[in-house]
């Protein structure tokens, strides 16, 4: 399977931040698609194929904001880790929160990385490049389970 074709699921409520990631991904010329949802509830719908949403097809990894309406990022990650078919998902946290508590909570749920939004456009391009590089050398968990 071509690793580069992995989908990036972006869970982000802020349109400008979402577009920034999209522009970064475009600038880094990452292959594969970027799917964006606005909060934890919408993300779970997509991950579990609920409420008429088509279930997302692996391979994919997640970029999750923390502060969001309805279901926040940490609750979403908690739910994903307790779902046997989703628990191995690669998740990066992308947030404005620099609180120690949030960082601790995220790593307790075994996130792959905790990234604080710096506000600079440049950071998003580097983020996209990092994801590209990551996907090019890291073996994602096998998908034929559950």
């Amino acid at each position: 399977m071509d690793k580069r074709s992995a989908t990036i699921l972006l869970v982000e409520d802020d349109d400008v931040d979402a577009e920034t990631v999209e522009r970064g991904v475009k600038a880094a010329r990452i292959e594969g698609s970027l799917l964006r949802v606005r909060d934890g509830v919408e993300a779970l719908d997509l991950l579990e194929g609920r409420h008429g949403r088509t279930k997302i097809r692996p391979p994919f990894l997640m970029l999750v904001d923390i502060r969001m309406p309805r279901m926040d990022g940490l609750s979403l990650i908690h739910a994903v880790r307790r779902n046997v078919s989703l628990q191995r998902t690669i998740i990066f946290v992308l947030t404005t929160s620099d609180s120690e508590r949030d960082r601790l909570a995220a790593y307790n749920e075994h996130v792959a990385g905790y990234i604080i939004k710096s506000g600079s456009q440049d950071q998003y391009i580097r983020l996209a490049r990092m994801l590209e590089y990551y996907l090019s050398i890291v073996e994602l968990p096998p998908t034929a389970v559950a």
Binding site: V16, T96, K117, G119, Q121
Partner: protein
């Protein structure tokens, strides 16, 4: 003693020098003889009483009574005390009555019944009694609890104040051990008090807890003084106990409200920290949107392009302001445990490496900084802000900033001296306030938080800061920093 010495004269001389005042009264109620003690007691010169009427010594108002006593005595002459149970007075030469106890002894003689009266001066005894009564009244009416106890801890007296404070009546507690008043948690009190008493020492204003009759506890201040016997041996103790529960409650309330204030202050800092952080993200969005318009729309009119850049400039200014406010709030939060002190000149070098120092400017590290050890983190920020301030507000393309430190009492006094335009005397206080700048923000990008943060950080170290020197070019900002031992 020879028999021939026992003459009338001999006995008269014995009577004369007896320490008890004696008056011999003849059957005609005249004074046959008064000894020296009697003359001294009553204020007469030697020999001047003999031959006088007894009436001279009887106060006017008791003459009738005296006549009755005298006739009673004549009826049944036997040794007795005169006027048993009554207050008797002998009249002094100056007319005042002297309280006396009078003993009467009949002395039969050839020419009739003589009476030998002995007079005991009761004034001293009265004074003692009055003093005892006064003391008793003080103890009785005292607001404080006053208790006496023996060395082996048995309660011997108990005033109404003690009853009010601890609930026991004297009948219930006198004769009982003091341990009954001491709660288990204060068991060591008794040993401590005994030890001090045995050294003849007082225990003054000792704050402890006592148990009332109903089992409740009360905060008291205890003063214990030893009671000595005539040979100076400690035989017991007098205790004065004051109810200090109100004061204790007030102290508790003060501590609590203090803690609440600290908490409120912390909550405010937390709020400011969170607010400044959250206000930042929409700002970032604004900046980015302006950036995308600039990037994506190549056909943009030059004026619009300029305005978008102005938007970005303002956004950057507000972001800096929010950062400074956040730093200010963070300076109010409890930091991490203090790290080991570091060298002051190393701290300055670290500051200089993070500052963008324009060409033409130099920052001089005075030799006085060598060997001075300080806590790193807050000093880093204070030096950063003061030096950045000096560079930012400089009005010439080149300048020199000099950092020195000297001992000032218990503290270290740092000075950051520049050769910039100087700050007029009238503004030297104002520049330490939040959001205060002296020039338009479009002229010099400044949030007005830099020196406010310096003052807060220095204040948290228990120090002060200010600007010194005469008006004119150059600014010298000083701040006191606690000296840190290794």
């Amino acid at each position: 003693m020879q028999a021939n010495a026992a003459t009338a004269d001999w006995y008269e001389r014995i009577i004369e020098c007896a320490p008890v005042a004696m008056v011999l009264v003849d059957p005609g109620m005249r004074i046959a003889l008064a000894n020296r003690s009697a003359e001294q007691l009553l204020g007469y010169g030697q020999g001047s009483l003999a031959g006088q009427s007894l009436e001279l010594l009887v106060p006017t108002r008791s003459r009738e009574l005296h006549e009755r006593f005298a006739s009673d005595f004549v009826q049944s002459p036997e040794p007795r005390r005169m006027g048993e149970g009554r207050e008797l007075y002998a009249m002094h030469a100056d007319g005042t009555g002297i309280p006396v106890e009078i003993g009467l002894n009949p002395l039969r003689s050839g020419d009739g019944e003589y009476v030998l009266a002995s007079l005991v001066d009761l004034r001293e005894r009265r004074r003692e009694r009055a003093s005892q009564l006064r003391m008793a009244a003080v103890v009785e009416s005292a607001e404080d609890a006053i208790i006496t106890r023996s060395l082996d801890g048995i309660i011997q007296s108990w005033n109404p104040g003690a009853q009010r404070l601890l609930g026991y009546t004297p009948d219930e507690i006198v004769g009982r051990p003091v341990s009954q008043l001491i709660p288990a948690a204060r068991g060591e009190d008794e040993a401590l008090i005994i030890a001090l008493l045995n050294q003849g020492k007082r225990v003054a204003q000792y704050e402890t807890i006592r148990r009332r009759k109903d089992g409740s506890l009360v905060d008291v201040s205890l003063t214990v003084s030893p009671i000595l016997d005539q040979s100076g041996r400690v035989i017991g103790a007098a205790k004065i106990m004051q109810d200090i529960s109100r004061r204790k409650q007030a102290e508790q309330a003060l501590l609590l409200s203090n803690a609440q204030l600290v908490e409120a202050n912390r909550a405010l800092d937390d709020f400011v920290y969170t607010a400044s952080h959250d206000l930042r993200s929409p700002l970032v969005g604004v900046n980015r949107l302006a950036q995308w318009v600039l990037e994506d729309d190549q056909a943009l009119a030059p004026k619009s392009r300029e305005r978008l850049q102005t938007i970005q400039g303002r956004v950057a200014r507000m972001a800096r302001l929010l950062d400074d406010i956040r730093d200010y709030a963070r300076a109010g939060q409890e930091g991490r445990p203090a790290a080991a002190p570091v060298a002051a000149d190393d701290v300055l070098q670290e500051v200089l490496s993070t500052l963008e120092i324009p060409a033409g400017f130099s920052v001089r590290c005075d030799p006085s900084l060598q060997g001075v050890r300080v806590e790193r983190v807050p000093l880093l920020q204070v030096l950063h802000n003061t030096i950045a301030n000096a560079i930012k507000h400089h009005d010439r393309p080149a300048g020199t900033i000099c950092v020195t430190v000297h001992e000032a009492g218990d503290a270290l006094r740092f000075r950051v001296q520049d050769d910039g335009p100087g700050i007029p005397l009238a503004y030297r206080e104002a520049v330490f306030e939040m959001f205060r700048t002296l020039r338009a923000r479009d002229e010099v990008e400044a949030s007005g938080m830099g020196l406010a943060l310096v003052r807060k950080l220095v204040g948290r170290q228990g120090g002060q800061c200010g600007i010194e020197g005469p008006e004119g070019r150059g600014t010298c900002i000083w701040f006191d920093w606690p000296a840190t031992g290794d």
